[in-house]
Symmetry: C2
C-alpha cells in the first residue's frame, strides 16, 4: 500500500472516470468549437491565486478540469483542426502514455531502465525501416524537432571544429538552409551561438525547393571570404508549402564540400514512408542525420521526435560527459542514451509508438496518410475552381495554401472569422510577400466530409463578405 | 466517430484494463525485484525485427507489455528504489497525464492552446510561491533540468555578449560552478560551444559547499588574464551529497561582478519549500534564474522541470524568433511560450502538476518530504554505528552516502550484490577519490520500514562478505 496517495480503489474509480471522459471526448471532439472562445487571462483569473494548503478531493479537480480547463482548449484532436500541422492522439497512443506515466522510469542509462532504452531502439529501428534508411542510422528520441535539429547542428559543429569541446567554438562557421526551412533551424543556430549572420537562406525554385546551384554558389562565396561552411539542412515537407528539397543533389554538394547534411522531415518524413513517395528521401541514406516526428502525422501523442544519425560517434563527441555518479559498465548492447544528447533523463516515450505501430501496422498507416494527401489535392482543385479564391502553392502532401483574390486584408479577416466560428481552425502565413491561409489535413479523425465541411465554412464566410 | 482508431467501446475496455493494471502495479510495485534480471539486448532480441504490416489486436500488445517489457523495467516507483534521486508517479499525476495525452495539444503559442499556456502560468506561480520567490520570476516548464540549465546559460551569454544573436559567440566567456555541481552544467556549457576549458570548478568546504572566496579569486584571476566571467551556477542539493551552496554569498559576488546567477535546485529546491529549510534559498530572490524539478521529489510523473527566470526579456532576446506562419497578436496576457525557449512545441505538462498540487496540498506535501529527510538522518545514524560501515558525508536532505571501511572494491562489489538481489536499488559515486554507495529516499510509496528493509539487505550482504 502506498501511503498518502490515492488508494487502489480510488485510483480505479477515478481512472475509469477519466477513461470514460477520454472515450467520449475522442468520439465527440467534433462537437466542440475547434478554437476556444476565451480572452487572454480568462483561465488564470478563474483559478485560485495560490495552491491549496490542504488536499482537495479528486471529484473537485476533475470537475474544474471539465468546467474551466476544457473550455480554454484549442482542440488539436478535432477533425476540423487544420492549423500548423495537424496531429492525432490515437487510442493506442494514449494507452501507451498511461502506462509510461505509471512506470515513470528514466531512460538515461541502460541500467537505469533496460526496457525504456531497448524498446526505444526497437521502435526506432522499425521506423527507420519504414523510412527506408539503412541500418547504420542510430536512432534516439527527442521531445520536438527543434531539439533534434539543435542536436544535429551541434554535432555538425563538433565534427567541423576540432577545438570545440575543450577550447570553445571557433568563429566563422556557416550553416546553409533554404529560405523556406523551418524557424527551428535558425533558432538552433542562434541558440548554439553561431549568429544569424552565419545562417544562409538559399533561394528556391518555382515550387519552393532549395536550388542546389545557389547552395553551391553560396558555399563558394563563403570559402572565398575565408569562412567555413560546415552544415546544410534540407527539408522534406516545408512548413510553408510542404515542398521537398532535392535531397540527393544537396547530399552530393554536402559530400563534395565536407558539410554535415541534416534533413528536416519532421512532418514530411511520414509522407515519404509511402511507397509512391520514396523519391522524397532519395539520397537521405547517405545523409548525416534526419528528423521525423511521429507526434505529427503518425498518430502518436505529443511529444515524440525521432532523430537519426549516421555518425553516433560524433554525437558522443559532442554530448557525452559521464560523472562518477552516472558511471556504468561498457557493453556495446547496453546503450546509455545520455551519451548522445543534452538532456540527461527522458520519459519512456517508446511505449506509445510501440503501441501505435503495432496497433495500426504499415498498411493501415499508409491508407490513412494516402487519404489525407488525396483529400488535400481534391480540396485544392475545388478551391482553384472558386471565383473568389486562388491556390497559392502546389500540394505535394496534405497542406493546401490559398488566398482570397481580394488581397491580404480580406484573407486575414477571413481567417479570423473562420477561427471565431468554431467550425474549423486554420493558420496563416506569408508566402511570396502575400498573406495565405493554410488548411493542413492530418488528424486521424478527419474524414473527407470534414475537409469539405471546413471548406464550406471558409467559402460561406468569404461569400458573405 | 473516428475512423480506423479504437472504437469508444474498445477504448473504454482497454482503458479500464490499463487502469486496473496501474492500480495493481502501484499497490504492489514493492513485490517486484527492483532492478530487472536481464542482459543487454535481451528485450531487443525478444521482439520482432520489423513492425507488422497489418495491425495487431490490443490484447496481444498488452500481453507483450506484461510478458516482455515489464520484466526489463527498473522500477523507479518501487519503495526500495534508492538510486540517483528517487521519483514518484502519484495517482493524481498519472490521471493528469492521461488527460494530457488525450487532449494532445501543443502549447507553443497562446492561441495554439490557451488552456495549456495559462494553466502552466498558474501552476508555475503556485510553485513559485511555495519556493518563496517573488512575483517577478517568470516561470516556464522544460523536460529536464539539463534543458532548464542550458537555457539559463544561453540567456546569461545573451546578456553578456551583445553580438551573440547576430554575429555569433565571442570567445573568452567563463562560467563558474562548484566541483560538486551536476554534470548538466558542464554539458550545457559544452553544448553551447563555451568549451570545457572555460568552465571553472570552484572548490568546496568540508561540507561540500562552494567556497565564495575561491569563486571571487577565480573571477579576479580570469579578469586579470583578459577573460570575461559571465555566469555562476550554484546548487541547492548537489547530486553527490545534497550539499547546499551559500546562495546569498554567491549572489553578492554575482551582483558585484555583473554575472548571471543560476541556481540548480533540481532536487533540493523541493526540500527548500519546507518552512524549516527556507534558509537554503536565501538570496535566491535576487538571482537571475532557478530550476526545480517537480518530477523528482514532488510526486509528478517525469518529465516536468520548472524553470524560473527574473529576466524574461533576456530569454526572449536569446530565443525568440517568429516566422510568419507562427505570428500572432500582441497581448501581454497572451504569453507565447515559444518566445522563451528552444523547443517550439510542448505537451500539456501543467495538467499533471495541477492535479498533484491540488490533490496533495502544501501540508501533506511537507509531511512526506519531512519524513523522507527524517528517515535519512535516522538511517545515517544507524549506518554510522555499524562496525563495517562509515557515513561519507553529512545528510542535509534525504540522501545517505556511505562506504565499507574495507575499501573501494568491497563497496563496489556490495553495490552490485544489493542491486542483483532485487531487494533494493542503490547507485554509486566517487567522493573524495573514494567509492561510496548512495541511498536516496524520495518515493511516495517508501515507508520507514522500506528504508530499514533496504538497509537490512545492504548490511546482511556486507556481513556475509
Amino acid at each position: 500500500m502506498r501511503p498518502r496517495d490515492l488508494s487502489p480503489e480510488e485510483f480505479r474509480k477515478y481512472g475509469y472516470e477519466v477513461v470514460d471522459w477520454i472515450a467520449r471526448y475522442l468520439d465527440q471532439t467534433g462537437e466542440y468549437p475547434v478554437a476556444p472562445r476565451v480572452q487572454p487571462g480568462e483561465l488564470v483569473d478563474a483559478l485560485p491565486a495560490s495552491a491549496p494548503a490542504e488536499g482537495e478531493p479528486m471529484e473537485r479537480i476533475l470537475e474544474d478540469f471539465d468546467k474551466l480547463v476544457v473550455p480554454a482548449v484549442n482542440h488539436w484532436n478535432h477533425p476540423r483542426f487544420h492549423g500548423y500541422f495537424s496531429v492525432s492522439a490515437s487510442g493506442a497512443g494514449i494507452l501507451g502514455e498511461m502506462l509510461a506515466a505509471a512506470l515513470n522510469v528514466n531512460g538515461m542509462l541502460w541500467k537505469s531502465c533496460p526496457a525504456a532504452v531497448e524498446l526505444e531502439q526497437v521502435v526506432m529501428s522499425w521506423l527507420r525501416q519504414w523510412l527506408g534508411l539503412p541500418e547504420e542510422f542510430f536512432g534516439i528520441v527527442h521531445d520536438t524537432a527543434s531539439t533534434s535539429t539543435l542536436h544535429a547542428i551541434g554535432a555538425a559543429r563538433a565534427m567541423a571544429d576540432e577545438g570545440l569541446r575543450e577550447e570553445g567554438a571557433a568563429p566563422g562557421l556557416v550553416l546553409y538552409t533554404s529560405e523556406h526551412a523551418h524557424s527551428s533551424v535558425e533558432k538552433g543556430a542562434l541558440a548554439l551561438g553561431l549568429g544569424r549572420r552565419n545562417v544562409r537562406k538559399i533561394g528556391v525554385d518555382g515550387e519552393y525547393r532549395m536550388r542546389p546551384e545557389l547552395l553551391a554558389a553560396a558555399i563558394a562565396a563563403d570559402r572565398a571570404e575565408g569562412r567555413r561552411p560546415f552544415c546544410v539542412v534540407s527539408t522534406v515537407g516545408t512548413t510553408s508549402v510542404t515542398s521537398v528539397d532535392p535531397v540527393a543533389a544537396v547530399q552530393e554538394i554536402a559530400e563534395g564540400e565536407g558539410l554535415w547534411h541534416h534533413i528536416d522531415g519532421a512532418y514530411g518524413g511520414v509522407a515519404a514512408m509511402l511507397e509512391e513517395n520514396r523519391w522524397m528521401l532519395k539520397g537521405a541514406e547517405r545523409a548525416d542525420s534526419l528528423v521525423v516526428n511521429p507526434h505529427k502525422w503518425l498518430f502518436t501523442p505529443i511529444d515524440f521526435s525521432a532523430f537519426y544519425c549516421r555518425r553516433p560517434d560524433v554525437l558522443r563527441k559532442a554530448y557525452s560527459l559521464v560523472p562518477p555518479y552516472l558511471a556504468s559498465q561498457e557493453n556495446p548492447r547496453a546503450v546509455n542514451l545520455m551519451d548522445y544528447r543534452i538532456p540527461l533523463g527522458s520519459r519512456f516515450r517508446a511505449l506509445k509508438l510501440w503501441f501505435v505501430m503495432r496497433s495500426f501496422g504499415y498498411e493501415k498507416f499508409c491508407a490513412v496518410i494516402r487519404d489525407h494527401i488525396a483529400w488535400a489535392k481534391e480540396l485544392a482543385d475545388v478551391v482553384a475552381a472558386h471565383p473568389l479564391f486562388e491556390v497559392a502553392a502546389p500540394v505535394p502532401m496534405s497542406l493546401v495554401c490559398f488566398r482570397l483574390k481580394a488581397g491580404d486584408e480580406a484573407s486575414k479577416a477571413l481567417l479570423e472569422k473562420v477561427n471565431e466560428s468554431g467550425e474549423a481552425f486554420l493558420s496563416g502565413n506569408v508566402l511570396d510577400a502575400r498573406y495565405v491561409l493554410r488548411i493542413a489535413i492530418g488528424n486521424l479523425g478527419t474524414q473527407r466530409e470534414d475537409v469539405f465541411r471546413s471548406w464550406a465554412a471558409v467559402r460561406t464566410l468569404a461569400e458573405q463578405g
